[in-house]
Symmetry: none
Subunit: 208 residues, 4 copies
DNA sequence: GATGAATGAGGATTCATTCAT
DNA sequence: TATGAATGAATCCTCATTCAT
């Protein structure tokens, strides 16, 4: 990326072009996300997003097709993290209960981050029908992870027999709720919260 | 209100006037609430509300000062039901655990009704600062009920020692979540859901 | 108006009816006029007028056909006072200069009263075309009084030859302006102001 | 700004951009001003302003923050002319009487122009409190000019001793009134009017 | 004569989006 | 790629006015 003289070429290579572009997209996304969470989607104008980035409104359209595209991208950014956690746990070792606890911890932690909060703080009805469909499918994936590991735990004897669906609802509700009440400047660290929750939410489920 | 001939006088008494007015206010409120839950506050226009009531938009202003006033009234209507349940349980008999279970059932049931859903489906940032303050106080009341009965249960021995705050977060989260996933046309009746939840959410807490 | 027993009959005679009605009309007019001068015609709602009178908005329509009718009546109330002054001076003795000075004093005094202020503080374009026509005619009358007495003064030698029209413009402008700057709580009493003005405005005109 | 071939570049330089923008602002201002004087502020809609300019309503918001901003800008445009006249006379030679006469002429002429008329035809109560404050300060400047030159004239002997405040009221009233009665298509040219007024209004004041 | 309720018309303002440059 | 400018669509709200009672 540097010339023989050690200077950075002012002519960006196609490679760097792509990286720049991608970085800008990310910047827009994070800024928008921040504002959306702060003020609520409908109270945020694209002008605000642009201003905070020191660019102009139409420039945003070079990276996103419109306001809901940004919203959607925010949501997806959050989902990717959830999906990664699920994949990681899936790939790792452990019985049903172990995996469930791991997911509770990871998903709970996610809920204390901006990207994670998007998953439940955004209103479904602000998306286009197409986006809604995709989101719905993603949510099902997450739900399926919870349910399947509960079911697996019952199967492998680490979890007492119960209705996985209802159990998942309780756990999911408690975890999602974290995104509403947890404050970074609060008394409990995210890690402490999720450790507590992992215990508490599986206490009644574990066989031992 | 009826003449000797048994006919209702067409001249409304002041009493009836008040009742009529109140009934209309309620009708507006329920219609708005319905639409808000269906489409989301920002996607609902006052025209829609008026149309569904077969009146005109400005007529709404005879009953509410503006759009956010309606929103606020919806929220408060939901809160009143919660407050009533709390008062009823408070006035009734039972140890901490009994009361907690009763609240879980009542609050959970509320979450399956339109008015109850308002409590958690509306976005705080759509209210005026003054409204937000009042709502915040109301929310504290509900939270206090959960925490105080958990604490009372620990005191009276019906609940195992634990952190009432965290326990309340778990329970509150699970219950509020009901408002998001429960469908009236779903497989489980509201009563069945809350009975299950009352069990499930206190299983780990009960001393016996 | 009282019965033989000395009590006032609760059944108003037609005569008293008329007086009541007239009194109410006047009350509305004065209240409206007050508000119009305070806040400007377009910033005053009929609700405000009604409220200040402790009646309801539609009640106003029993006395006036609409908002502009009230405005018009206010203006006319002011004009009547001017017309009376003119008639009184016309009927009285004195040469042209004497009469001009008397008119300056009376018209100037009028400008320090609410009714008088209406004459120049209201915007012509807030009236209907018909009202505008009538007002225009009234204004001409006042203007004619000024001009004719100036002309009469030139004729009778009390005023030095000059263009009556231009002189009237100067005098009229100075007098109307009083309505804009004079405050009841200011340092000069209305009488002091108009005495000063009568002098000042005729100093250059008088022959002596 | 032009290419070697003498053609104007279609790519506006920043400089030209600024000029264009400024010119458009002026155009809006003049159009609005025209309409305000024609129909009165409250009877003019932004749509009318936009239509007369062959643009759309929201385009106006690129140049002015709102309707009252336009109103305010109109007033200020008028004031600037008055301020310039005052500064010019102040900078020039002459005793108090000479300067007073010059101001009468210039201010009187201003009153026969659209921009000048704004100074007295707009209603103070249509401005925001902040604007009102600024306008009030401006008006004081103009008033101060009249009074100070009258006082200066008394000092230097060109004007007979009198109360400068009252004299300024008379002169100001007469001049402002021009804006109400003078028509461009009337019998007297603006210049003729103000020459006459300068004479007439100082006749009683001059020492000789 | 007075009222509560309802209405119709209108107007300012906001904002996502587009386009020429 | 980025920008200034312009637009169209939409919405809340106000208010004079009317009408049944």
């Amino acid at each position: 990326m540097s010339t023989a003289t050690g200077q950075v070429s002012p002519f960006p290579t196609p490679e760097r072009r792509r990286r720049d572009r991608s970085a800008k997209r990310e910047a827009i996304l994070d800024t928008a996300l921040e504002l959306f969470l702060e003020q609520g989607y409908h109270h945020v104008t694209l002008n605000q997003v642009a201003e905070r980035l020191h660019i102009t409104k139409p420039a945003l359209y070079n990276y996103f097709a419109g306001k809901t595209e940004i919203l959607f991208a925010c949501w997806m950014a959050g989902f990717e993290q959830a999906a990664e956690a699920i994949a990681r746990i899936e790939a790792g070792p452990g019985d049903g209960l172990t995996r469930l606890r791991a997911l509770i911890r990871d998903y709970g932690l996610l809920m204390t981050t901006p990207r994670g909060r998007c998953l439940i703080r955004f209103d479904d009805r602000d998306f286009t029908p197409e986006q809604r469909d995709r989101i719905s499918a993603c949510k099902k994936q997450v739900d399926a992870a919870f349910r399947s590991w509960i079911a697996a735990g019952i199967e492998d004897g680490s979890i007492r027999p119960c209705d996985p669906k209802m159990a998942a609802f309780v756990i999911g509700g408690a975890l999602n709720w974290i995104g509403q009440w947890h404050r970074d400047d609060g008394p409990m660290s995210p890690q402490a919260v999720v450790d507590d929750f992992a215990d508490r939410l599986t206490k009644g489920l574990a066989t031992d």
